[in-house]
């Protein structure tokens, strides 16, 4: 990338450094205010709790926990799951901006993102196959439980990768 820009005769470009040094990036990283970095970190945790927590609850219900509640109406909680997703995504983007240059080189961070994509895909499949298809209560569509187990594994792996970014990869 750098070479291409040199050939074209402009300054070497490093978009990640530009983002990190932008006004919002610098503010989030360097402001001593509790409303900067710490607040985004808190929101990222709340988002994680709502996103993964709701996902886990839906998966556990598919696997048979809390049978007193019919499965189909549990689908209402996908909206809460998406609220958690967007809180995580927006606060995550803010935290990423603050250290964009560092994250760009972090292998574990990309693994985390990949796992989140896979976990969201499994969530989408569950919503589609289990909650938006017609079947009679008591006979789940084939593969529902396997999907729920995949989802549980993927969320656990995503959290693990996210936590490990603090220890390895940089």
């Amino acid at each position: 990338m750098r070479c291409v820009w040199r050939v074209w005769g402009t300054r070497p470009m490093n978009i990640f450094l530009d983002i990190q040094q932008s006004v919002p990036g610098t503010f989030i990283r360097e402001s001593p205010s509790i409303l900067a970095y710490p607040t985004f970190l808190f929101l990222h945790t709340v988002g994680l709790g709502l996103l993964v927590g709701t996902g886990i609850a839906i998966d556990l219900r598919i696997l048979g926990a809390g049978r007193e509640t019919a499965l189909k109406p549990m689908g209402k909680f996908f909206s809460l799951l998406m609220v958690g997703f967007w809180i995580s995504a927006i606060s995550g983007a803010a935290l990423w901006m603050a250290d964009a240059q560092t994250w760009a080189k972090d292998v574990v961070f990309y693994i985390k993102l990949g796992l989140i994509v896979l976990a969201m895909l499994s969530t989408r499949l569950i919503r589609h196959r289990v909650f938006q298809s017609s079947w009679s209560e008591g006979s789940l569509p084939a593969g529902s439980q396997a999907l729920a187990v995949c989802s549980l594994i993927l969320w656990t792996a995503a959290i693990t990768a996210g936590r490990l970014t603090a220890y390895i990869g940089k």
Partner: protein, 167 residues
């Protein structure tokens, strides 16, 4: 709050073999943190669903099943108590004089009392709440308290490194 007895206790804890083993291990602390977040998701996920149902969200759900699911939230709480205990044993002086940590414990205590009041004083006197049913006002109060208090627990926990100088 500075009590000599807490210092003595912390000093003893930090000199135990377990404490040293945790500090010297390259993986016990990171693994405990990971489990702490997984436990958090299990607790918040199941408890928030029950609380929101009582407050009137997703009324087509039978309350009993959601109440059953909170057993997994209790499992999450146990995971977090154990892993939290590991952090404390490893580095007691990070927490013992930390006001944010004390506030976190206070919020946990209140959330616990609130949950016990709901479980043993309010729930037994409630009729089964099936699809479409509305929870009584008392249950709605504990649901709202529960959501606020668990968010406080998470807030103080996350603020530990910023307001109280622990990691």
């Amino acid at each position: 709050m500075q009590f000599a007895v807490l210092d003595t206790f912390s000093k003893w804890v930090s000199h135990t073999r377990v404490s040293n083993a945790i500090i010297e291990s390259p993986w016990i602390w990171p693994a405990s943190e990971t489990l702490h977040f997984i436990g958090l998701a299990m607790l918040l996920g199941t408890v928030a669903l029950l609380d929101l149902r009582m407050l009137g969200f997703a009324r087509s759900l039978d309350l009993r099943g959601l109440h059953r699911l909170t057993r997994w939230g209790i499992a999450g709480f146990v995971i977090n108590t154990v892993t939290g205990g590991i952090f404390f044993v490893a580095a007691p002086f990070q927490y013992i004089h930390n006001v944010v940590f004390q506030l976190k414990l206070l919020a946990m205590l209140l959330a616990g009392i609130n949950a016990l009041v709901f479980e043993f004083r309010i729930l037994p006197n409630m009729e089964d709440i099936g699809p479409g049913g509305d929870a009584p006002a008392a249950a709605k109060f504990t649901a709202a308290f529960s959501l606020v208090l668990w968010l406080c627990v998470m807030f103080f926990g996350r603020m530990l490194p910023f307001l109280g100088e622990s990691f």
